[in-house]
Amino acid sequence: MSRFADIFATARREHRAALIPYLTVGDPSLAASLEIALALAEAGADILELGVPFSDPVADGPVIQAASQRALAQGVRLADALELARQVRQRSPVGLLLFSYYNPILQYGLERFARDAVAAGCDGVLAVDLIPEEAGAYRAAAEAAGLDTVFLAAPTSPDERLAAIGAASRGFVYTVSRLGVTGARATVAPGAKELVERLRRQTRLPIALGFGISQPVQARAVAAFADGVVVGTALVEAIARAPEAGAAAAGAAFLRGLRAACEMG
């Protein structure tokens, strides 16, 4: 069984949703990212989304755009994210999902990327701007190396697409809670639950929900119908607000508040 499958099975046994925080690799620095990643794992993260900074993040709102820019300005690239994964893996069994735009992976080389990602201890990859129809070679390379491919499902996806997304995904499916880019919101979009239910009819994989979740009360609401809760922008913001030396502690404190909310009670 893959590590992702294990993680979701364990979470289900424990009557809670898996907690999946996102961090932008290299923000505020590579050294800090390692500390943050380990602190998040300590604080109850089940899977870490390691965000590879990209120059043109069309799916991201201002907070993650700015985090990417800070990381890129220090020269952080996909290879550094793989190296970070390797260092985290040496010290933690936490799930590791690389979260990237497609071009850095394509330029790295699909086969080389999949091999190096697995060798570094990554469990899966999500390319934000890659849909199953365009992912033939990517999926073949990932499959051959044993790297799970996670695809996005969106509120606009009709049922046939949800079926194809489920079929192309390994480990779990990541559903986007609302129309729009990443960014913290005050409420969970009303259509999110319906989307998860529609997707359930198309796949037996665990379903995580993300985009916009920032507070424990939202995490609790999502945990009632999804198998995993992704928190991105709000965490990136909490990390950015803290001084670099306190970034890991700030991230961990933020995550602990969410972890309790993921228990389904």
Partner: protein, 404 residues
């Protein structure tokens, strides 16, 4: 790098749909609306009427006698897209897409713009059809094309400044895509070049193909044969594809695309995606697989051009195919060459081209004297230079104080 495919929306290995999942359904909706419109004769009739009565088609193919003489007597013709309403070819595509938006019931239109010509054309058709219009424009481009910003506002559009990244066309497209992801239910994204995810490269090319159809017939009428070469500037590539498309089967006609050579060959100083050693290679940006100026790790490079409309790190996927197959040839003209060509055309023909189009004129000035003595060429004058008067006045020292 990517498997060649015969799927629709592919140009050899290039093209495709590289977007977040949320946008796939809106793209499919658009593709279906376009398919249905093409099959509906009333759509073609309405578009043709607008192109004629509102935009001013057909545009003339103007013989350029003094430029021809200066280039050794070869015949130089100018396709006059500068004479269209709003001053550039961009309105061809905007009229087509606004009719589609109407068919889809979308009342809000968003667009990106570099030089501001596409933004002005979009604002224009939105005014004509009573639609809400938001145009994203890089903050740097708003400064250098200030006249067009004022035009868009006068036409009732909201112009949103984009301050991220290079603050130019690429960043405006990012922001427009983010808007579209959030509002795709009621909003049509009126993309302004043969870029982006399928169906845009095909659809935008089709809406501009009238340029080449007219030019081919006009040249045959004037000269009784086909020209030796077509020369067009290439930003995203819409005016060039529009001119080239009708001539693709005419293998004896050379197709020449002119990219922005900027200030030099080093990455960051130009926007010449095909220039050998310039840093361009196949990659994915903003929905499509094509040539991209990028670093070894796949991060998109900054670009520079004196002309905002050419200042973009990628190029339409059909150009990538024409390039690899050798059907078209791509060269670069520098900022300085474009400025000089602008002056040349103004002085010899009484026509002030847009700085974008001046890149095509610059290549003609270099190439035509080397061609056979009886050769003839068509240069696409994709737009007029009014919007560039600030830059031209500064660079060519045209102000009163410069003259003393």
């Amino acid at each position: 790098m990517s498997p060649a495919s015969t799927r629709p929306g592919r140009f050899g290995p290039y093209g495709g749909r590289y977007v977040p999942e949320t946008l796939v359904h809106p793209l499919e909706e658009l593709a279906a609306a376009y398919r249905e419109a093409k099959a509906d004769p009333s759509f073609g009739i309405e578009l043709e009427k607008l192109l004629r009565d509102y935009a001013g088609r057909p545009t003339p193919l103007t013989f350029a006698p003094r430029l021809s003489a200066a280039l050794g007597g070869r015949k130089v013709y100018l396709k006059r897209e500068d004479l269209l309403h709003t001053g550039a070819h961009k309105i061809n595509n905007c009229l087509g897409q606004v009719l589609l938006a109407q068919r889809m019931g979308k009342r809000r239109i968003i667009a990106e713009t570099g030089a501001g010509q596409h933004g002005v054309a979009t604002a224009t058709v939105c005014a004509r059809f009573g639609l809400e219009c938001v145009v994203y424009m890089g903050a740097e481009d708003m400064e250098r094309q200030a006249l067009n910003v004022a035009r868009m506002r006068l036409l009732g559009a909201e112009v949103r400044a984009v301050a991220s990244g290079s603050r130019t066309l690429k960043d405006a497209i990012n922001e427009a895509m983010r808007d579209w992801v959030a509002h795709c239910g009621d909003t049509h994204y009126l993309l302004g070049s043969v870029l982006g995810a399928d169906p845009y490269p095909t659809m935008v090319r089709d809406f501009h193909a009238c340029i080449g159809r007219e030019a081919r017939a006009q040249y045959l009428q004037a000269e009784g044969r086909l020209p030796e070469a077509l020369i067009a500037c290439v930003g995203g590539g819409s005016n060039a594809m529009g001119l080239f498309y009708a001539f693709l089967p005419d293998k004896q006609v050379k197709l020449i695309g002119v990219e922005a050579g900027g200030k030099g060959n080093e990455l960051g100083l130009h926007a010449a995606r095909f220039a050998p050693g310039g840093g361009g290679s196949p990659g994915v940006l903003q929905g499509t697989f094509s040539y991209v100026l990028q670093d070894a790790a796949g991060q998109i490079a900054l670009t520079h051009s004196i002309s905002a409309g050419l200042d973009y790190p990628s190029i339409g996927p059909e150009h990538a195919q024409l390039h690899d197959e050798g059907r078209a040839e791509y060269v670069a003209a520098s900022d300085a060459e474009a400025l000089a060509a602008c002056q040349t055309l103004a002085r010899l023909e009484g026509i002030i081209p847009a700085l974008e189009s001046a890149h095509a004129v610059a290549e003609a000035c270099r190439r035509v004297p080397r061609m056979a003595a009886d050769a003839g060429v068509i240069i696409n004058i994709s737009g007029r230079g009014d919007k560039d008067m600030g830059i031209l006045a500064r660079e060519l020292k045209l102000a009163d104080g410069d003259r003393g």
